[in-house]
Homo-oligomer: 370 residues x 2
Amino acid sequence: MDPRVHEHAEVLVDWSARIEPGDDVVLAVEEDAHELAVAVAEQLGAVGANLLATYESSEVSRAYVKAHDGGFEAGAHELAMLQEADAFLALGGGRNTTAKADVGGETQQAHSRAREAIREARMATDWVKTVHPTRSLAQQAGMAFEEYQDFVYDAVLRNWEALAEEMAEVKEVLDEGREVRLLKDRDDQPTTDLWMSIEGRTAVNSAASVAYDSHNLPSGEVFTAPYDTEGTVFFDVPMTINDRRVRDVHLRFEDGEVVEFAAEQGEEVLEAELDTDAGARRLGELGIGMNRGIDRFTDNILFDEKMGDTVHLALGRAYDANLPDGETGNQSAIHTDMIADVSQDSRIEVDGETIQRDGVFWFEDGFGEA
Amino acid sequence: MDPRVHEHAEVLVDWSARIEPGDDVVLAVEEDAHELAVAVAEQLGAVGANLLATYESSEVSRAYVKAHDGGFEAGAHELAMLQEADAFLALGGGRNTTAKADVGGETQQAHSRAREAIREARMATDWVKTVHPTRSLAQQAGMAFEEYQDFVYDAVLRNWEALAEEMAEVKEVLDEGREVRLLKDRDDQPTTDLWMSIEGRTAVNSAASVAYDSHNLPSGEVFTAPYDTEGTVFFDVPMTINDRRVRDVHLRFEDGEVVEFAAEQGEEVLEAELDTDAGARRLGELGIGMNRGIDRFTDNILFDEKMGDTVHLALGRAYDANLPDGETGNQSAIHTDMIADVSQDSRIEVDGETIQRDGVFWFEDGFGEA
């Protein structure tokens, strides 16, 4: 077995999920994640946790939901399992990312709605989502299999402790800041000049560990929940919204709301997103990607939004973790991330101080310390 | 997909497990049983049951138990899942039947002991065990893959209702009978002449359905719990005991107990079995195989013991289902099945009446009805 599979398992169990002896752990294994499941099982055995593996197959799920009359129920057995579980480790890695392409949207939604209590029980555990590199994911990323393996392990096998310390510095600046300004030029023309209020909001240091309220491996972003957005923004990293490609999105905000929009590709998809509900035209998240192991777009949001030298904004729902206790942030049925490359001709300012210039942070270059 | 996979799923869900709308079903999927899992999921969706699939991988289990310090616990999450489950459908079919060959016996036993409550909770559901034909099982059977597929579907896709009616006739004779005599010659020499008391015992019509207290698919045997065994018996179907091959076993019983034994191969394995405990030298089961879809030995007890024209006896523990309420049968840590071919030069008598001669039952030939 590739030694990196074992290292991946160690990071997942020790750093990300903080598994302890006697913990009741659900290991949710997708069709082609077998190798990682074996390595994680070994790690769980070494720690002395109690292992129960579930089989997360898109093909099994497709067959089930298509044959069902649509009156779905949450299984009491699944709910009981999750209520007793201390941790839930989801090992992504299927054989076909479009395995459920022929399941109708209504069926998917009905199934998803019926499983709300199951989702909540899962989120109440120390859950972590990761992926095992499979040929299907390599294909989605447009990469050779070995090339994709290198990509995944570069993203996952970081010095997380060191990255968490760097991200803590960014979190501190955002926590204390009142206003973020994002600037970007293209061919010497300004494409982005956006102001957002962040006062009173708490940033999350997403360091790929439940100890940091971070549930993705890889992670590596600092995010907060902005409001009162004004100005224009351009997203140049391609994205997939509802299984459709969307490219080169321009948005203009007034009084916190999108008042103009355009896209080179998929504009009608973008329009449908914006029309979902009132909150769909407001921002729910500002995230700063800081994982430099992720150096390219692979059409997988687990990786894309953490890419180093990028910033992402999400239209729609805000995360509770960013809000003061009892306060509700932006509400919406959607949370749609859009990503901008800020490695060149770009600047991020907090309260007038530059914290990143062309992808380089102030603490890396000292430029903001004067 | 081979249409027989769908038929297999239908038999499992409808005939064997009797799944009803709203049932909470655990689908336990071995590594290579994916296709059958998809077909069963479709069937469960059509019925309107609630599906939770678990991943039963010998390699995952091996990695876990080998890394563990041996102080195993039953996971509260697994126990809770089973306590809420109505049915447990085990889909066998791995990639390597010897995947756990390097796990020490003590480790296996410690793991198994710690999981006693889990096993009991599983047995309290409407559980059914079946197998999907895999290359690994074909290899164990010494067969080509397609040949093995045909073999499995011949065994599984029976007219179970008709077979259940035939088996009911045999059950009735055994329920009313006091004594069974088993006779067999080889080259005109008697090799088997065995008497067993069965008075007061209840036979089980194992018709591959929970409705018949039968939990294997395929099944197709009628079994009871004999006692006061006297005489000699010869088992000519090869068997695997504790992963070792044992062949051509002779046993002689006096006062219900084995007093002489011999085997052409694996005699030391047989001796160790007999020395396990006091009950290991007494019979726990007499079974009459009636599944004529199973026409050969495949080194898999799920199939072997149901083979048409065979009789099997088990040393060790008796099943409660064969005993009057409150009565305990033979007790032992082992239950070791040994199989005799009775298709030729053989006779089964109950209270002096022949019920089977050279593999043919009285109701097939009318010979016992005069």
